[in-house]
């Protein structure tokens, strides 16, 4: 399973569902809040990834971390990948 690829796919789907223009390429330094995805879109993205990857890093972490950039989002998922349920 390629986590990066899954996150990219889900991100694009979330943007599409929220009628937000999907960025052409998802760069590491892209600031999530400036990408157009609002909190509802972000919430949907997290749940979508939980269903696809089998874990939700935001409920697994002891200290809440809210990723700012796309790279940070990716690293949060990377950090908890061993906790996947499937």
């Amino acid at each position: 399973m390629n986590i990066r690829q899954e996150i990219e796919t889900s991100y694009r789907e979330a943007c599409k569902n929220r009628n937000i223009e999907v960025p052409e390429s998802l760069e590491d330094d892209m600031v999530l809040l400036e990408s157009g995805l609002d909190s509802l879109g972000f919430a949907v993205l997290v749940t979508d990834l939980e269903m696809k990857l089998g874990y939700d890093p935001f409920t697994l972490m002891d200290e809440p971390v809210y990723p700012r950039t796309f790279a940070e989002l990716f690293s949060v998922y990377e950090r908890f990948k061993d906790r996947a349920q499937k």
Binding site: N17, A43, V44, T47, D48
Partner: protein, 450 residues
């Protein structure tokens, strides 16, 4: 006030009363069994009785025997957990339990043909106004006990026995619960027959058995109706009277039933166990006319609180909680139903339960509002909307979907999505649609909430 037994006596005695387990019980059979067992019944005179029947036949015969004889009857389903039975008995004071079958006609001293009775054991013409005690369905928590009398329970029952003699009611509900009891009382007091299907878990078998037994009147929840609509033989049912209750009746379902049975009478009923019965809407349209507030249907008054909650007040009969704080009955007889309504044009529409809301980032979503939006898509048979925990917003809206047979899922998904985008605020739209084969229905016929 006529007692149940008197309703049996004045209807045509050869008319069928109940069909269960391939056996037919007519009114004369019932009266013979009652007459033959007067001594048995006399044991319960002025007692407070907990009735836990083993079959619909037993329930029916014991009710006819005990109504007017016992001080109060607490009616419980055979599937009630034992610790709950004990707690209910304690709360209600109904300490004597009746769980045995109603005895057959015996060769005792009482003659079966003497159905008027000799008055040896029971003062036949002096009836007690028996209190009937029924638990609420417990949709919103621990079931509570509600006290009724025969008058409050039969407020909406049609007593015309000449007309009623042509009706054969199908029983889909548990007859020990409020909705099932309504159907049972309608059959007894209306001079009609009641058909208890054998196997309640298989809709195909139910429909076949109803067709075979010429069931022409049926009362069910919208979820039950949708399940029946999926069966092959549904349109062959000779239905003349259709009634929907217990859940919100959506326009889609009302239209579908109207198309299948164009000459029938279709009624959706708003009722709460607490209020006895509420009111009926007969115009085949969802919700109810706003004019009901000023000119209510018989025996009931209807109001809407400033928070949009439906209030009802019964004009006749009595119903109150037992051993519970009477919070929502304190207000001059007005009962807060906990159901939210919304005025659109000249009609009120039901939005769902006040406390069943999904909380999306502090904004409340009524599952039923979303469900109704999805159901308007003709290709959806059933849906259940619920909240899924989410670390960002607390909860998100998720919908389980049962598609009509042969529907392409991805196509249907985009139809539902565009419908929801069009009609619902963004936080109310299901973030996820899950296609499932079936959705569980509770014993009371409602969608099992997650």
């Amino acid at each position: 006030m006529m007692r149940l037994r008197q309703h049996i006596e004045v209807a045509g005695q050869t008319s069928e009363l109940l069909f269960e387990s391939n056996k037919s019980l007519d009114r004369k059979d019932a009266l013979d069994r009652l007459a033959s067992n007067r001594a048995v019944v006399a044991e319960y005179q002025n007692k407070s009785v907990t009735l836990i029947p083993r079959s619909t036949t037993d329930l029916l015969l014991w009710l006819i025997a005990l109504d007017g004889t016992a001080q109060s009857i607490l009616i419980l389903s055979d599937s009630t957990p034992i610790e709950q039975i004990d707690s209910f008995k304690k709360k209600s004071g109904c300490r004597t339990t009746v769980h045995k079958p109603f005895p057959p006609v015996s060769d005792s001293l009482d003659s079966p043909s003497d159905s008027k009775g000799t008055g040896k054991h029971i003062h036949n013409d002096i009836y007690v106004d028996t209190t009937w005690i029924i638990p609420t369905s417990g949709t919103t928590g621990t079931p509570k006990l509600v006290s009724h009398n025969l008058e409050s329970l039969t407020r909406s029952v049609k007593m015309d026995k000449v007309f009623g003699s042509q009706l054969r009611w199908g029983l889909l509900y548990d007859p020990t619960r409020f909705a099932g009891l309504q159907t049972l009382l309608q059959s007894i007091c209306g001079g009609s027959a009641l058909i208890q299907p054998e196997n309640l878990s298989d809709p195909d078998t139910i429909v076949k058995s109803f067709i075979q037994n010429q069931c022409n009147a049926l009362s069910a929840t919208p979820s039950m109706w949708r399940r029946l609509l999926m069966t092959k033989d549904f349109s062959d049912m000779p239905l003349e009277f259709l009634s929907l209750g217990g859940e919100i009746a959506d326009q889609q379902l009302l239209t579908m039933l109207s198309r299948r049975f164009p000459d029938s009478r279709i009624t959706h009923i708003y009722a709460s166990t607490e209020a006895g019965v509420g009111f009926a809407v007969k115009d085949r349209k969802a919700g109810f006319p706003a004019s009901y507030l000023a000119t209510p249907p018989p025996n009931v008054r209807i109001g809407v609180s400033s928070e949009g909650q439906l209030l009802v007040k019964s004009e006749k009969g009595k119903a109150h909680y037992i051993a519970e704080p009477d919070d929502n009955m304190a207000n001059d007889g007005w009962i807060d139903t906990g159901d939210l309504v919304e005025l659109v044009g000249d009609r009120y529409y039901f939005l769902g339960r006040r406390n069943g809301a999904i909380n999306v980032g502090g904004r409340k979503v009524q599952p039923t509002e979303v469900e109704q939006c999805i159901l308007e898509t003709e290709k959806v048979v059933m849906t259940r909307v619920y909240g899924k925990k989410n670390p960002i917003l607390g909860e998100l809206v998720v919908a389980d979907i049962v598609a009509s047979p042969g529907e392409e899922e991805s196509e249907l998904k985009s139809i539902i999505q565009s419908r929801c985008n069009e009609l619902l605020a963004d936080y109310k739209r299901p973030a996820f649609l899950k296609f499932v084969k079936s959705i569980e229905i509770t014993p009371t016929g409602k969608i099992a909430r997650i």
